[in-house]
Symmetry: C2
Subunit: 117 residues, 2 copies
DNA sequence: CCTATCCGTAAGTATACGCTTACCGTTCGT
DNA sequence: ACGAACGGTAAGCGTATACTTACGGATAGG
């Protein structure tokens, strides 16, 4: 999270927007189709798509009256790279902590990782 | 975003929490130290740390009156894996779209990826 | 031209959320 | 025992946000 004020990270902080991205990961979809798959109104989907588009995570094309949305791979790749950078940095920091803790008493709570799924 | 209702993804949707994680990626820190580095009050930091802890992204140990927080590598790794899975899936979907579009007329808007940093 | 479909956007609303100050329990040093 | 430092939590507050309905422009078919 180097760019911790990043629009894209803000964007995926919302569960409905993550759901939209999950739908689009499978295939491109029109707004109405997305709305059919989600428990929110179509205008809500439009608003979310606008956020995602502004964050560079999705792109659109028009087909008649329809707007077809798809993921923007570059945007998703950027997220991935940022998380990777962060992860590498965290590993370095973690090793440092482990070394420090080899030489002193500690009182540790909540050591167990909490699984996300 | 397979687990799109995931607490951890919700958690990092907030810029202050991302900032906290960035600080902790460098080294473990006490609450007060974190508060010194961020433009929010110490109780605000506590509240954010609680969210991060419940999401499995940080862990704590006590040292006297101090609570020292650090990143939880397992939690961060889980995010990374989920994003990786999502990315692979998106790539598959993207290839499918590219194939579909080779055989039909399209009208594309906003094709350019928007850089995050 | 008329009608239907699609979808962006405006406006409104409820509420979640991120912030603050205040309080109080815990720990430690004197 | 007392005071200082630390930090969790309660309570309050302002506002951003995610939702809704309504409106209207664009497109396409008859």
């Amino acid at each position: 999270m180097e760019a911790y004020e990043s629009e894209a990270w803000d964007a995926i902080g919302d569960p409905t927007r993550r759901a939209i991205m999950t739908c689009l990961a499978g295939q491109e979809l029109a707004v109405g189709e997305l709305a059919d798959e989600l428990p929110v109104s179509r205008p809500a989907v439009s608003q979310h798509l606008k956020v995602l588009k502004n964050a560079g995570l999705v792109a659109e094309r028009t087909a008649g009256t329809r707007r077809i949305y798809r993921l923007n791979p570059a945007g998703v790749a950027a997220l991935r790279e940022q998380l990777e950078t962060f992860w590498n940095r965290a590993l370095t920091g973690y090793r440092k902590v482990a070394e420090d803790r080899n030489s002193r008493t500690r009182n540790t709570t909540d050591e167990q990782p909490k699984e996300e799924e």
